[in-house]
């Protein structure tokens, strides 16, 4: 039992609930809905649903979960939602495609230039994206960064933003329906997912094994709570991996007919309307 901690970070009931992180989430959902309504060709409702599910999960993570008393399990649940599950919903919402459809030509040209930039190809490659996502988490758990984020609300929010951004990048590089110039082949993407998921699982067991001393720099610690958080991380990571793998292989399954194995001439037209990239 930790009891009331003087180091409880901002955003806790003691200093009044802080709901301001919900504002960007509401803006994301609202902006997308406006754009979808303006799409002249009619926007696929399943994409809208995926985006809204992603936004709802973000809202749960930064709203109700952030109001809970300071607890490693709550932090872990936030990390799982922000960094792994919610970004997949956002990626499946294909926001860049929607933007390209409703924006005027200058914006479209700018987006095109951005997508063709060398830097974008580098960080949107699944391997750097996996390093940013799982590696960032390792950095938080294995260094005093965790303890520092407990004390400084700005760092705390910046970390959450990093989780979402890195998770989005990783999900997009693996399975995003949005345009991704020079996306590597299936083998590289499956390998990156394997590496990230294995790293996540090993990190979870390592945290479990060393809950007495990790993350470093905490003044009061409850090893039992960190062990529970590590188990949540392990099984939550499995769920996220399962969802990502499904999205990745579903994208492969729905690949355009001309890219299927030679001899696929006999392939019946897929009955599944999801195969059409809106």
């Amino acid at each position: 039992m930790t009891g009331p901690s003087p180091l409880a970070h901002a955003g806790h009931p003691a200093d009044g609930p802080s709901w301001f992180p919900l504002l960007p989430v509401v803006l994301l959902a609202g902006g997308y809905l406006l754009a979808a309504a303006r799409d002249p060709r009619g926007w696929d409702h399943r994409r809208t649903a995926a985006w809204l599910v992603g936004c709802a999960l973000l809202a749960v993570a930064v709203g109700p979960l952030a109001q809970l008393p300071d607890d490693p399990r709550g932090h872990m649940a936030q990390h799982l939602l922000l960094g792994m599950v919610a970004p997949l919903g956002l990626v499946l919402g294909a926001p860049v495609t929607l933007l390209l459809r409703v924006s005027p030509p200058p914006v479209r040209r700018a987006v095109g230039r951005l997508l063709r930039a060398r830097g974008a190809h580098l960080i949107a490659h699944p391997v750097p994206a996996a390093l940013l996502s799982t590696g960032g988490l390792a950095l938080v758990l294995l260094t005093p960064l965790y303890a520092a984020a407990e004390r400084q609300p700005v760092l705390h929010h910046a970390l959450h933003l990093h989780y979402v951004a890195a998770g989005y990048l990783f999900a997009w590089s693996l399975a995003g329906p949005d345009p991704a110039p020079r996306r590597p082949g299936l083998a590289v993407r499956v390998g990156a997912l394997l590496g990230a998921a294995a790293g996540h699982a090993v990190l979870a067991k390592y945290l479990y094994a060393h809950a007495g001393s990790l993350p470093p720099g905490l003044t009061d610690r409850d090893p039992e709570a960190f062990r529970a958080a590590a188990q949540l991380m392990y099984y939550g990571g499995d769920l996220a991996e399962l969802l990502l793998a499904t999205a990745l292989f579903a994208a492969w399954y729905n690949r355009p007919a001309h890219r299927r194995t030679p001899g696929a001439g006999a392939t019946p037209a897929p009955a599944d309307p999801a195969s059409r990239r809106s």
Binding site: L194, K205, D238, E241, G265, A266
Partner: protein, 161 residues
């Protein structure tokens, strides 16, 4: 245009892919049974038993991550073969048994004995458990080999690829 008559299916069946897709699903299903029955329901295995060396922890993490990917990938490959009418169901079943038995044996010999990631059960005399575990794996493996051999010999045209 290749015709869609049922007779032509056997001729276009992709022998190798059908077997391998079955093997993948077999591995993943056996891994899931291990995870769900022995870890979760019986709680015979431990989540982490503190005796695990760090190299084994790494291999365990990779294996665990691979299982889920294999499960999903195996089923999508299976669905793709079916859609292309290139699936041989018998070979897929044979592959399934091969994969399930192979994983069981691998888990019993490499994970439990060589790497010592964990044991089947704790606080009991292990030999009977190990024998039952590995013999069951060997029986599944042999049954799979028999089904694959039988399926290939039934239709020699399949054997060419």
């Amino acid at each position: 245009m290749v015709t869609d008559f049922p007779l032509s299916n056997a001729r276009t069946a992709d022998t190798r892919s059908s077997t391998l897709a079955g093997v993948l699903i077999g591995i993943a299903v056996m891994a899931a049974v291990d995870e769900i029955v022995f870890h979760q329901l019986l709680a015979w295995h431990h989540f982490y038993d503190r005796s695990t060396p760090s190299v084994a922890l790494l291999s365990d993490g990779l294996l665990h991550a691979a299982e889920l990917i294999i499960l999903v990938g195996g089923f999508f490959w299976f669905a793709d073969l079916r859609r292309r009418r290139a699936l041989s169901t018998r070979l897929a079943w044979g592959g399934f048994l091969l994969g399930a038995g192979g994983f069981q044996l691998f888990d019993g010999l490499v994970d439990h004995k060589v790497l010592r990631v964990h044991q089947i059960r704790y606080g009991v005399h292990l030999v009977p458990y190990d024998v039952v575990w590995n013999v069951a794996g060997a029986v599944l493996l042999l049954a799979g080999a028999a089904v694959v051999w039988w399926a290939r010999s039934r239709d020699p045209r399949d054997g060419s690829r």
